[in-house]
């Protein structure tokens, strides 16, 4: 170690507190960089495992391929494993007690299929020949059929054909059992007969929809037996999936004459392979923005720490220069300081970052599992590459942060350092304030403002830190709310877990009562719905809808989707939208709630749009009519008074196409409305909607009920779809808020650091002010004003910048969604309060220490 470095080292050791602040600041930055990169990797890893658990590990799917084509795919240099699968068809399940699931659904896998698709063997073994099969446990539990390992079944296998359709229509697993008016409207064709021995039992596969009519059974796909030109689906696992795989697979398909290729986009996306250029651009932009913000935040913190350290060391740097140290030596001493700090902070920071993320995961894993029933755990994934990147970014950050202070240090001359020139550079213009400041805030306010202005660099650094925090907070709050809104919009208003459609209206009353009393139901509502028409005057129709709601004769009429809510649900909803429940129940004065704001997907623009669909007011009348098919005429009903207009939707009512008005009315009003029109009630659908704390168990209970009472209705469990969206939202929130907290921590550290140093450097001055008779009260006033001016300045810059960034982001994301830009005022209020709080606390904390000091002790300190 040469003498300059030795001196620097001693200086660092001597000023332990200052060194510690710098080290801590650097540690926070490094920890954050590490945390962000490993957080991203871990999420991707978890999502990847989740996707594999749900839909298997494969990348490319070639449909309907012959064995020759399979051979060609196998020979391709990119192919690692080929999984073959084939849907054989349906067979009747003898003795199934679940009226919605009368079939077995038979699928074949080759050996790789059992390995790579998510199949969980509970008992026995996987089939090894085409006359062996494994059956889903749901056949025993749900269908109540007594089958066991070793049983042999002979099955007539065929396809599901719809009865009464004009063309031949075959149904697949995602279509529930076709029913109409209480009767099953489908049957099985007969294609082949096969005999199977049961060799094992598997769990219900996650890819089987809950409403699917067939229980899954799996058998072995015998490749040798397939030689006769029969086709199967080939799912391929690639050796090294990267961006070129799409082109490669399509080329392969083309050369082999394979007509259908598809890709496992979900899995590929989480492995970092994205075909869609737009999506990739978005992802790239987003991560670039995040990384830039992190680096800006870290550089400003570390830069500040070094700048302050250098200005405090300026005296000894000047002395060094007076005994002949060169510029280079002085500059290197700052870089040496950077190296010392970096060699401590980087390892500690990386460990702290990993520990922090590990702890976060330990904390949120049970939450994720409880709330969302996600099966994959969140593991801490650390790749050497990401650590290397974290180190590189940290080194770069420290280097950038020390560059300017090092240059400044190299320019410090002996005389400047000894005279402590900082204030010598003050000019009248720099500290000029308006006379108004003094008039308004007194000498204390004026002094506070001048204090800010005297040291522009520090003032700017502090304001900059505040601005970064403000912008980040607002943008992230907005981003998250935007994301929520986007998810809600794409859900098309699905706000329930399970829906039951009862097509036999005569039994509705009884079923509703019984189902409503089951366990695990959180919210329950019954909605009787029917379609009417609502003729309107031209002026009431917004322009974009005019062509859509005009009928052949040129008159304007909406479809009116009338929803009759049960009283309990209606009461809750009426309160929510501010309508009078009693008035809604009054049959002598028919009234209803109209949903006038609708979100729909504009097919032309390929965007989600939120729009007002009718120009009307509360209190106006809504005409209603129905089309009577027997007399082939439109029959006018009594008109309905609009009790409230809303954009809220009660559970179960879907957002429909904008040409359809959704109207909510009470049972009493409905009865009065259709009195005397018996034919209307034939068209009423009865649906029961419920949310649940355990949707799967509730579904079992509902099916149990159906089996026991032998009634027929369809059950749809949409919980899984909903859950997936919510998962994504939660993960995004954890990520964004975690990021925000880290950045805010950095900025607060930054602000505390700058403010406490600036106050410590002004100790003499404070003592001086006190000695000429500044009371403690006016001293506090001065400090308050200083904080307030900091806050005002930061807000004046930060708020407009935030709005600009939010608007920009809104436009980027707005490619998919179309609704008005809103300012998150609640978050803005939070920001304003927090800014003053943070600055105020920082100033009070630092000035409290100064205040305690004796005037004389301070004044006596050596002036240099």
């Amino acid at each position: 170690m040469n003498i300059v470095n030795k001196l620097t080292w001693r200086q660092l050791m001597l000023n332990k507190k200052r060194t510690l602040v710098t080290v801590i600041g650097t540690i926070i930055s490094v920890a954050m960089i590490t945390a962000v990169s490993s957080l991203g990797l871990s999420f991707l890893d978890m999502l990847r495992r989740q996707v594999i658990a749900e839909s298997g590990e494969w990348h490319v799917l070639y449909k309907n391929v012959t064995m020759d084509q399979v051979e060609a795919i196998r020979k391709d240099e990119e192919t690692q494993t080929v999984i073959l699968s084939r849907d054989v068809g349906y067979a009747l399940l003898e003795g199934s007690r679940n009226p919605n699931k009368p079939y077995l659904f038979i699928r074949e896998y080759n050996e790789a299929g059992f390995e790579k698709f998510p199949v969980h063997l509970l008992e026995g073994r996987f089939p090894a020949a085409s006359d062996e099969m494994v059956i889903s446990r749901a056949i025993l539990d749900n269908g109540k059929v007594d089958l066991k390992i070793g049983d042999t079944l002979t099955l007539d296998i065929g396809r599901r054909e719809l009865i009464g359709a004009q063309e031949r229509t075959y149904l697949e697993q995602n279509a529930s059992l076709a029913r109409y008016g209480g009767e099953v409207k489908e049957h099985l064709t007969r294609e082949s007969v096969r005999t199977f021995t049961i060799v094992g039992i598997i769990g219900r596969p996650e890819w089987e929809p809950t409403w699917a009519p067939g229980y899954t059974v799996l058998t072995f796909l015998d490749e040798d037996a397939m030689a006769n030109g029969a086709a199967a689906n080939a799912s391929v696992i690639l050796k090294n999936p990267d961006g070129r795989l799409f082109e490669h697979a399509r080329a392969l398909a083309k050369s082999q004459g394979i007509s259908e290729v598809s890709f496992h986009h979900e899995l590929l996306r989480y492995s970092g392979v994205i075909e869609d250029d737009e999506a990739r651009g978005l992802l790239f932009n987003l991560s670039a923005i995040v990384m830039t913000i992190i680096i800006i935040g870290s550089v400003s913190l570390i830069y500040n720490a070094f700048a302050i350290s250098v200005s405090e060391r300026s005296k000894y740097l000047g002395m060094l220069s007076s005994v002949g140290a060169t510029k280079k030596q002085k500059r290197n001493s700052v870089f040496f300081e950077g190296a010392v700090i970096g060699s401590v902070s980087i390892p500690v920071g990386i460990l702290a970052g990993l520990a922090g993320i590990g702890l976060t995961f330990a904390f949120i894993n049970p939450v994720i599992k409880d709330m969302l029933g996600i099966s994959a755990d969140l593991f801490l994934v650390v790749s050497p590459l990401s650590l290397l990147a974290a180190v590189a970014i940290s080194v770069l950050t420290i280097f950038i942060s020390t560059w300017v202070p090092a240059r400044r240090a190299s320019n410090i001359s002996a005389i400047e350092a000894i005279r402590q020139t900082q204030d010598y550079k003050l000019t009248r213009k720099a500290v000029k304030t308006w006379g108004l400041t003094r008039m308004l805030f007194g000498i204390e306010g004026d002094l506070g403002l001048k204090n800010l202005k005297r040291n522009r660099t520090k003032y700017k650094a502090t304001v900059f830190s505040l601005v970064i925090s403000i912008v980040l907070f607002l943008v992230i709050a907005k981003f998250t709310s935007e994301l929520k809104k986007a998810v809600v919009m794409t859900q098309a208003g699905i706000n329930f877990d399970i829906v039951i459609n009862i097509d036999d209206a005569s039994k509705a009353e009884l079923i509703a009562e019984d189902i409503g009393s089951l366990e695990h139901i959180k919210d329950f509502s019954r909605i009787d719905s029917l379609y009417l028409m609502s003729p309107v005057e031209k002026e009431k129709v917004p322009d974009f809808l005019k062509s859509r709601v005009q009928d052949a004769s040129g008159a304007y009429a909406y479809d009116a989707y009338i929803n009759v809510l049960d009283d309990a649900s209606l009461k809750t909803f009426a309160e929510e939208v501010g309508a009078d429940f009693n008035k809604l129940k009054d049959p002598s004065r028919l009234s209803g709630i109209v949903i006038d704001v609708v979100t729909y997907k504009d097919m032309e623009k390929d965007k989600y749009v939120e729009a007002r669909v009718i120009n009307t007011r509360v209190g106006e009348k809504l005409n209603l009519a129905y089309y009577d098919s027997e007399s082939d005429s439109q029959v006018q009903l009594e008109s309905l008074e609009i009790a409230a207009l809303t954009d809220k939707v009660p559970m179960g009512v879907l957002n429909l196409d904008p040409g359809t008005l959704s109207v909510i009315i009470s049972k009493d009003v409905y009865d009065r409305l259709v009195q005397g029109y018996d034919r209307i009630s034939e068209h009423v659908d009865v649906s029961l909607y419920m949310t649940s704390d355990d949707p799967l168990r509730l579904q079992e209970a509902v099916e149990e009920y159906m089996i026991n009472t032998e009634t027929g209705f369809s059950v749809y469990n949409v919980y899984l779809n909903r859950q997936k969206q919510e998962q994504l939202l939660l993960l995004m929130s954890v990520f964004t808020y975690g990021f925000m907290i880290l950045i805010t921590a950095i900025c607060i550290a930054n602000i505390l650091n700058t403010i406490s140093t600036s106050i410590a450097l002004r100790k003499r001055e404070f003592a001086m002010l006190k000695s000429v008779g500044m009371t403690p009260k006016s001293f506090n006033r001065m400090i308050y004003f200083e904080s307030i001016f900091y806050g005002i300045k930061a807000l004046l810059i930060g708020l407009p910048v935030s709005f600009a960034v939010m608007y920009l982001m809104f436009n980027v994301l707005g490619g998919m969604f179309d609704y008005a830009f809103t300012v998150p005022w609640a978050s803005v209020a939070v920001v304003i309060v927090s800014v003053f709080l943070i600055v105020g606390v920082a100033m009070l904390y630092s000035s409290a220490k100064v205040k305690k000091e004796n005037i004389i002790d301070v004044l006596k300190q050596e002036i240099i």
């Binding site: 204030d423 003050l426 005297r454 000429v772 009371t775 005037i855 004389i856």
Partner: protein, 227 residues
């Protein structure tokens, strides 16, 4: 008229074995308009005495009455207000506020009091100090002598009962020193300003009405050389 009375003033720094007696049972009185020079070797307790008189340090025991007010019976706020109205302090290193210009530095005690300076009075003071063409300057744009004149202006602007100076010429060359001495003497005579100055500078001491010598925390000599 008696303007200052000091009774049995003691100040002890530290505790137990390491305790240092900076002032040891000091008593004296000062009449209005007196110009007193306090002399003595380094560490004799002169500065401590001055600070206690100025209300910026607290005595271990004893009392200080300025215009019959027992200043150490006041709370911190009242003492601060008392300081800005009744005491003018001048330091060796000026201690001006760097962000305020000359005019603002001089009028600081009034500004803190929420008062506006009387224009003609200020003009007169500034021209006496020879700073009329420097009112808009910041302290760092002034020479040492000019800065010290600003701090004298600040000390006297509120017409204090007592003006205290701690080696006001200790940091100045001889030309500037004579100017400052002349100025202090002038203020003393013209305004009947009571003045206590700590000094090593014989020329100041010789200008004074009374010379007080302090050694080891006690007044060892106190002689009136003119009256």
């Amino acid at each position: 008229m008696e303007i200052l009375r000091v009774e049995n003033l003691s100040k002890i720094y530290g505790k137990g074995e390491t305790a240092v007696k900076a002032l040891d049972n000091v008593s004296f009185t000062v009449q209005k308009g007196e110009f007193i020079a306090v002399v003595g070797p380094s560490g004799s307790g002169k500065s401590t005495l001055l600070h206690i008189l100025g209300g910026v340090d607290r005595p271990t025991s004893g009392k200080v009455y300025i215009e019959d007010t027992d200043i150490y019976s006041l709370d911190e706020t009242r003492l601060a207000i008392f300081r800005r109205r009744q005491i003018g302090l001048i330091y060796q290193f000026y201690n001006l506020i760097p962000v305020l210009n000359v005019k603002e530095n001089i009028t600081l005690p009034l500004l803190l009091d929420g008062r506006q300076p009387d224009k003609s009075q200020l003009d007169e003071l500034v021209s006496t100090l020879g700073l009329s063409d420097r009112l808009d300057y910041l302290p760092n744009q002034l020479s040492g002598g000019q800065q010290q004149r600003v701090s004298i202006g600040r000390a006297i602007i509120s017409n204090p009962a007592l003006m205290l100076a701690d080696e006001p010429t200790g940091n100045l060359d001889s030309k500037n020193s004579s100017e400052i001495i002349g100025l202090l003497r002038l203020l003393n005579q013209k305004r009947k300003q009571t003045l206590i100055v700590i000094t090593h500078d014989e020329r100041i001491a010789l200008q004074a009405d009374r010379i007080m010598t302090i050694e080891d925390g006690r007044i060892t000599r106190d002689e009136v050389i003119r009256s």
